[in-house]
Symmetry: C2
Subunit: 313 residues, 2 copies
């Protein structure tokens, strides 16, 4: 993994206006709407934070009075300075209302790294060879809940309202930021069908690239096994065309289900007949080394003697 550029702190104060002369050569055609103020009242400061990977981060929070051309001259001088100091990357955080600074930065080689809500982050690689900057999030994560009622041997299935083909599938949807896999499954099942349930295990993971429903990014689709805590369906009319409790054997056999649904139904049939331990990935919470936070880990059940290594060598 390429080293991540972040952390650390050092103020590198750069008086844009004074250094503007160094870089007048490359301003111009892309520098905003072509309106240059001759008296850049702001002529402010570009403050850089140095990180331990020799990168510089600049946050454009207080440049209200600076025009785009003055900014470009100041940035060009600053980049030249950082390059001479051996920095390998520059990160620019730009609030959305300061977006007039984006095109001038782009004219100097900066490109979008990511943007969300009311700010964007641009980056410029200064190191040798191709960029080793880490990318941004590449996957959306969707989670489906296979709610199986062991008493009736029926499983909860839906048909989407907005699809071209009406195939049976499990209720599910995209995870919210910060939401654990099992919580997404339980939430989506409830929102779509009105059924309350509890997480039991992860059954399968699908990875699909260049996904049309993910703005061309990749999609990770995870199917969880859930146990119902209520049985009365009240399905969401906006999202679902149909919703019912179907015999698991029927779902495992029908041609009117998506391939991944059929496969998961057959896996569940196997588990329901020969033991769910044959198909389950169980979840456990473990501490993260560096942050002190916790994470969820999913794998096959590990016998206690291996978990503790007691008496094993």
């Amino acid at each position: 993994m390429p080293p991540l550029l972040s952390g650390g702190y050092l103020r590198v104060v750069l008086a844009c206006a004074r250094r503007a002369g160094l870089s007048a050569g490359s301003r111009g055609s892309h520098g905003g709407p072509g309106c240059v103020r001759d008296n850049p009242a702001g002529s402010g400061l570009l403050r850089g934070e140095l990180d331990r990977f020799r990168g510089i981060t600049v946050r454009l929070a207080q440049l209200d009075s600076l025009d785009a051309d003055s900014f470009q001259r100041g940035l060009q001088a600053a980049v030249q300075q950082w390059r001479s100091e051996g920095r390998i990357a520059v990160w620019l955080h730009i609030p959305i209302l300061q977006s007039r600074f984006i095109a001038p930065a782009a004219a100097l080689g900066f490109r979008f790294h990511h943007a969300e809500s009311d700010s964007s982050t641009l980056a410029l690689w200064l190191g040798e060879g191709p960029s080793r900057l880490p990318g941004y999030a590449t996957h959306q994560v969707g989670v489906a809940g296979a709610v199986f009622d062991e008493n009736t041997r029926k499983i909860l299935v839906v048909q989407d309202r907005n699809k071209l083909k009406n195939m049976w599938k499990f209720p599910g949807g995209l995870s919210e930021p910060g939401e654990d896999i099992g919580d997404t499954a339980v939430r989506e099942v409830f929102e779509e069908t009105g059924i309350e349930s509890e997480f039991r295990s992860v059954l399968s993971i699908r990875q699909q690239h260049a996904h049309p429903g993910a703005f061309g990014k990749s999609d990770m689709y995870i199917i969880c096994r859930l146990r119902p805590r209520s049985l009365t369906i009240r399905f969401c009319q906006h999202e679902c065309l149909r919703c019912e409790w179907m015999a698991l054997t029927e779902l495992a056999s029908t041609e009117n289900a998506t391939p991944v649904t059929s496969r998961a139904a057959r896996l569940l049939l196997y588990g329901s007949r020969e033991g769910f331990d044959k198909i389950d990935l169980t979840a456990e919470e473990l501490p993260a080394v560096y942050t002190g936070l916790f994470y969820k880990l999913y794998h096959r059940e590990l016998p206690d003697r291996y978990k503790t290594m007691a008496g094993l060598d």
Copy 2:
């Protein structure tokens, strides 16, 4: 899952200049560097594509001659029109060199949905209630390779160069866009250690939120079991401090490994002694229903009689 706004096509041609009068009231303070041209030579056309979810997509490709204020007036009139026609969302695709249009759009309520490389996408929700627009990618996916040599019962481990604590772990890194899990593992192992290997199975999945190494997004970290195809270590000096073949029992017992590495080592020890079928998720390629593309599906090995449902009911 909220319906995705995309697809379909309809040209909605809007002459900005003519409609500008409708919206002159709300232009102003946030509209770029404050430079208004009185003769908007472009006064061009905002073309919207209608999708089947009642959203409009506008691509700002050919507005070189339009100034930011004229754009804002035109956009405001267009949004008013789309709202009256019952559209529920507007998507704006803006090339990086046209970023002078971002702040004017933000002043009308648009926010970044995402941005990458040389373009950004802004969105405005026009429907009732809170936005039902789908989010953007929420996870980075990292993959580690646990390369286990069954002959020597040793496993390949590294220590990162840029970490505060020198803990043993498996070589690995972030997946490239469009790369399958197993391919990431094999590539990263080779890049870090010089060892060639082949994918055998997925062993575990970790989900961690608000990850400092993921720009605050979530991290999915997947450990694969690999089989070595070469044994001579030539490790990357940039990334690794140490790299060696270590007895699996030693890795499973040492305190000098990250918790997730210890756990995976114990899982591998269990598999190596009692059968890898106890711990493996196997991979299979299946066709996607709607796109005709293929995806990889990972789950516990399913006996053939369940896969085909032959003789089962």
